[in-house]
């Protein structure tokens, strides 16, 4: 039964992708993109990747869509229908597709427990996590400790993107020289009854859910990254409802920057502290006399760093796009 459902979802995925490329109205394309992400998340869930499904739903369907819409409102809604060098592109694309499909025939089949992926490193994680770190969610253990250095890199990717967007969108607008009008105050959706009521009801639950995901990451699906994204989504919803000004009063710009820098700094400092305490970088075992407890402490600390940076960065990016409109 589940396999039929999976095939159905995957087929929908292909159809949606093609529809996105064909849609001439960019607004439609962005909305289809959100559906694409949700379908993707559903697929991940079927494939046992609960953490990834949660992230894809929060990031792909939530945050990405908002950023796309923000950019659309600053640019254009419709696409001019010109296509460049179609023939060449078609042949490159077809050739690569065939090559990839050819490569599948010697791949291990879906779900094959004998596949090499499941032999070498992965079983070690599954068998050693209870002994070395003693938390149920192995994904969090790998993310937070065994491959914590990757996660540190990931935090800095978000950090870079955030300062990049702020850098780009803080440049003077060339079209703006003649008219220094005062920006119209954005009032959000305050006058629309249904979004207002539903949004106000939802907001506390979203933030609460975000906090739950943050602190429950060791036991179930979730962790700093998902939590940061969910809380940021909640605050963005608040900004959409109440207008940006109110949202900025609640979480001012300086606080966002402090979050972005502070989270990244917290993560790096945990590593530096472990270095000073005689371990390698990010070796949390030295944090406490009981190495297992040290590991757990380290994971909680770095997850907090991830959550803070991600939340701050997503908010800062959203406000950078939104503020550009009022120039």
């Amino acid at each position: 039964m589940i396999i039929i459902f999976a095939v159905f979802l995957l087929t929908l995925l292909v159809i949606t992708a093609i529809a996105i490329v064909r849609a001439e109205n960019l607004f439609v394309a962005v909305m289809l993109m959100a559906i694409f992400s949700l379908l993707m998340a559903a697929n991940f869930f079927i494939l046992d990747a609960a953490d990834v499904a949660l992230t894809e739903a929060a990031i792909g369907a939530g945050v990405t869509t908002v950023i796309f819409l923000g950019a659309l409102s600053l640019t254009a809604e419709n696409e001019k229908k010109v296509e460049l060098s179609r023939g060449v592109a078609m042949s490159i694309v077809t050739a690569t597709t065939l090559l990839l499909i050819y490569a599948t025939f010697e791949k291990p089949k879906l779900g094959d427990p004998e596949a090499p992926v499941h032999q070498h490193v992965a079983p070690w994680y599954l068998s050693e996590t209870p002994k070395l770190i003693d938390i149920p969610n192995v994904v969090t253990a790998v993310l937070g400790s065994f491959r914590a250095y990757d996660t540190l890199g990931e935090v800095f990717v978000v950090f870079t993107a955030c300062i990049g967007v702020l850098f780009l969108l803080s440049a003077k607008n060339p079209a703006d020289k003649q008219s220094r009008r005062t920006p119209p105050e954005s009032i959000g959706l305050r006058h629309h009854l249904i979004p207002k009521v539903v949004g106000r009801l939802l907001f506390p639950f979203i933030v609460l859910f975000g906090l739950y995901v943050q602190f429950h990451g060791e036991y179930g699906p979730g962790g700093g990254f998902q939590a940061g994204a969910i809380i940021a989504t909640g605050i963005i919803l608040f900004a959409l409802l109440e207008g940006e000004k109110t949202a900025l009063a609640a979480v001012p710009h300086s606080v966002m920057m402090a979050m972005v820098a502070g989270g990244a700094l917290l993560y790096t400092m945990v590593g530096v502290v472990t270095m000073f305490m005689g371990g390698n970088f990010l070796d949390y075992s030295v944090l406490s006399s009981n190495p297992v407890f040290g590991q757990q402490m380290g994971i909680i600390l770095i997850e907090a760093g991830v959550g803070i940076t991600v939340c701050g960065a997503l908010l800062a990016i959203f406000h950078a796009f939104a503020a550009r409109e009022n120039y």
């Binding site: 087929t11 950023i67 791949k107 192995v138």
Partner: protein, 119 residues
């Protein structure tokens, strides 16, 4: 049923190339970024497909249960990172598109090239 074991990989290949096609062929910069996002998502599907083990469950260890098998946690960790990279790239790209629109008054590649020729 034999071939269904590969269906995920075929979808990966097709979606990947749909995205790639949009990136090369479409003239609109936002459409190119949408294509890029599809292109990256397809790779997530490939990684997550390989983590599945028949009859297994998500890699969250249940206490007291001994004979449960779990899916592979590693590709999931990698893709968590890759999703973040994807959204970061998209955000940066969109910021560029906004600036391009302000500087050139258009987000169509051929218009921009034409305007650069003139100046």
């Amino acid at each position: 049923m034999e071939l269904l074991g590969y269906y995920n990989y075929w979808v990966f290949a097709i979606v990947l190339m749909v995205g790639f096609y949009a990136v090369i062929v479409r003239n609109n910069l936002i459409k190119k970024l949408l294509g890029l996002a599809i292109f990256q998502s397809a790779v997530f599907l490939m990684y997550i497909t390989m983590d599945k083990v028949e009859g297994a469950t998500a890699p969250i260890i249940q206490e007291g249960v001994t004979d449960q098998i779990y899916s592979n946690p590693l590709p999931q960790v990698l893709i968590l990172t890759a999703i973040v990279v994807g959204v970061s790239t998209t955000a940066l790209g969109l910021a560029m598109v906004v600036r391009i629109k302000e500087a050139y008054g258009s987000i169509e590649e051929d218009d921009i090239i034409a305007k650069d020729r003139k100046s």
